[in-house]
Symmetry: C3
Subunit: 113 residues, 3 copies
């Protein structure tokens, strides 16, 4: 069985749950903010997504953090370190890419249920 | 048990199936086409890969769509929306990156079997 | 149950094992080297990570190879082909992105246990 929580955008889910695995994606709610603030916001959205799936950040397995400016990775990382469960951190990769519009930070994650 | 379907390129599989999960990747067959047309083609290749694995787009869990020009994300998205099972969309991220040669669109996906 | 092997960097794991799946990430030890040499080094780190998890490259399911210069993808690919288990290759995507500092190659992988 596959459980899906729709995104506000058509044609995609913001959470998909299958066989004990949770696939989810998060971006900041306010795209006018700095990379740091957008990461804080995206992590809050990620928390909400994980909660809706029935899990939490302590069960994260893997995270890919996409940012648009690698010179600002330290800002992302400060937001991350203030947020992550230090006793249960996921595998993580931070990658510099182009994102849509004013998005500066986007997080894709896999968690256990 | 792990089942692998070889790619035409050495040293990689275009489909890997393990314990109810299918990992696959697709690019356009004709690299001379536009980003939109390449996305349509890559999605058709994805369909074929999923069918060979014994599953289909209605069981997609997660998709990463890599494109080389984020200004053309709307073209990718139109191709996506015409293709995706609207009742069963995966978690999706669209990321602007550099791809090989004339590839303009590449899709990596995880599906349930 | 989730088993985590800490990274040398805070707030993340270099290996996470859950329900028969292994999530791991690797970069080169010596960041002063060429993209080719960094890929060779990252693949050796990947081997070590997989061994610590209790698995090996013959059980790789999916790999994402991030490199900073797609013009040098042939160098990455030569290192890959010399390393990969040709009878058991994973699904692979090679993506051109920005990485941190002097990193030229970073590999994220999912393996079966």
């Amino acid at each position: 069985m596959i459980r899906r929580i729709p995104s506000s955008a058509a044609g995609r889910s913001r959470v998909v749950v299958h066989d004990g695995l949770v696939f989810t994606v998060a971006t900041a709610r306010d795209k006018s903010q700095s990379l740091r603030a957008q990461t804080v916001s995206a992590l809050a959205v990620l928390d909400a997504n994980l909660a809706e799936a029935g899990t939490s950040k302590s069960k994260l397995l893997s995270a890919t953090v996409y940012i648009t400016d690698m010179a600002r990775k330290p800002e992302m990382n400060e937001a991350w370190l203030a947020w992550v469960d230090q006793a249960n951190p996921p595998q993580r990769a931070c990658i510099g890419v182009a994102l849509e519009g004013d998005d500066l930070s986007e997080i894709v994650a896999v968690a256990a249920l």
